[in-house]
Symmetry: C2
Subunit: 232 residues, 2 copies
């Protein structure tokens, strides 16, 4: 990423804080804004953690990034969305996005590992009420899972929009971790007879399955067939 | 699952509690033990949430199930593992496992959805100190990501085992949610021109990449080549 693409008031890294500094494997941590954005933009499923009655709760949610904001959405009746709307200055949350890239097989069990990229966001989830921001966020959420889809479907009616809560989490306290490459075995283990290396892992997509009520002849849109990794 | 496979004192469902009862989409929730085990056994990556200084923390971790217990492990120096070892009766945690099976494209944005299966476990993470249980758990953790691998690698030395913390979470307060099938559009939207259906999603595996120090002629083990879905 060239510095020309970064607004002048946005440093290239997120500031490091006590809770974004790992106690170990610090060499796997990064605060680089472009790396964080890359990890976030590749995915659409996050795990959202919050505290309810003193105990942790962790739920899978869809998300989208718009600049330095993450958005999640759901029914206005869903508990976490309702709680975030009522809390001031928002519900304390931790949002984590993880991509597994490979299973790392070493000679020894101890050095088995996983190649991955993850982003952890600490912040507050706040209800978005501004209609323009809600509209931008909802389009981004649709396009996060299926890029190009927002413009190729019927957008929300007033009634549907009224039933949809949108939450924003500002990207302020953010860190990423990653591991890449092959196994790192002990020198004295190198002659052991076991296969060692990496089994690549990725999310992949199958052939689109039309709805049973889809009229014949409607072509599969290019944004689906052009989708990255395919299942065989 | 036949009832003959279930010990007589184990009911077929986990008991429903206040926090495992969703406020909405209850029809997507299940407490069926065999369904929960199936979701857990298909994966190896969980998101572990806990509370630190009043705020939620959510981290990706490997896990394994052994009967009615989940195990996670890590360095004895890692913060969450240290905190769990010191807490009595363990660190309150929420462990969530999610599989995305498909992106559901409806005529309207509002009815877009995701086909998925997820399990949420509420409980306490306790340090495992019994050597036999630790050994069983560590083998299960190795085999969780790569079934068959524990017997085909060098097991931990006393020094390596001393540096490894193992935590247990009992499967007591557990629920699953899932969505399957095609989109559910409003009757008045059915004639809209947009493609509708499901884009299947799955985790897939590539060709194993040998370590640069692997001696020539070591065959790729069958437990890697036999691995389910493949990338193309």
């Amino acid at each position: 990423m060239s510095t020309a693409e970064i607004p002048h008031d946005t440093p290239e890294s997120y500031p490091r804080t006590a809770r974004t500094t790992p106690t170990r494997a610090r060499e796997r941590a990064t605060y680089d804004r472009a790396f964080v954005h890359g990890v976030l933009d590749e995915g659409y499923l996050c795990h959202l953690a919050f505290v309810r009655e003193g105990a942790p709760v962790c739920l899978p949610m869809l998300y989208a990034r718009v600049d330095e904001r993450l958005y999640i959405h759901g029914s206005t009746g869903a508990r976490p969305l309702r709680e975030a709307g009522e809390a001031d200055p928002g519900l304390p949350v931790c949002v984590t996005v993880t991509h597994v890239d490979g299973l790392v097989l070493a000679k020894s069990v101890f050095h088995h590992s996983v190649n991955y990229r993850s982003v952890v966001v600490h912040g507050h989830a706040c209800a978005v009420t501004d209609e323009e921001e809600r509209s931008t966020a909802l389009d981004a959420l649709t396009n996060s899972a299926v890029p190009g889809r927002a413009d190729d479907s019927r957008r929300g009616s007033p009634k549907e929009l009224a039933a949809t809560a949108v939450l924003r989490i500002d990207l302020e306290e953010v860190s990423a971790k990653s591991r890449t490459g092959g196994p790192n075995d002990e020198p004295e283990d190198l002659d052991l007879p076991y296969w060692t290396g990496v089994l690549p892992v990725a999310t992949a997509y199958g052939e689109p399955v039309p709805a049973d009520y889809l009229a014949p002849g409607v072509p599969v849109p290019g944004y689906l067939t052009a989708r990255g990794r395919r299942l065989r």
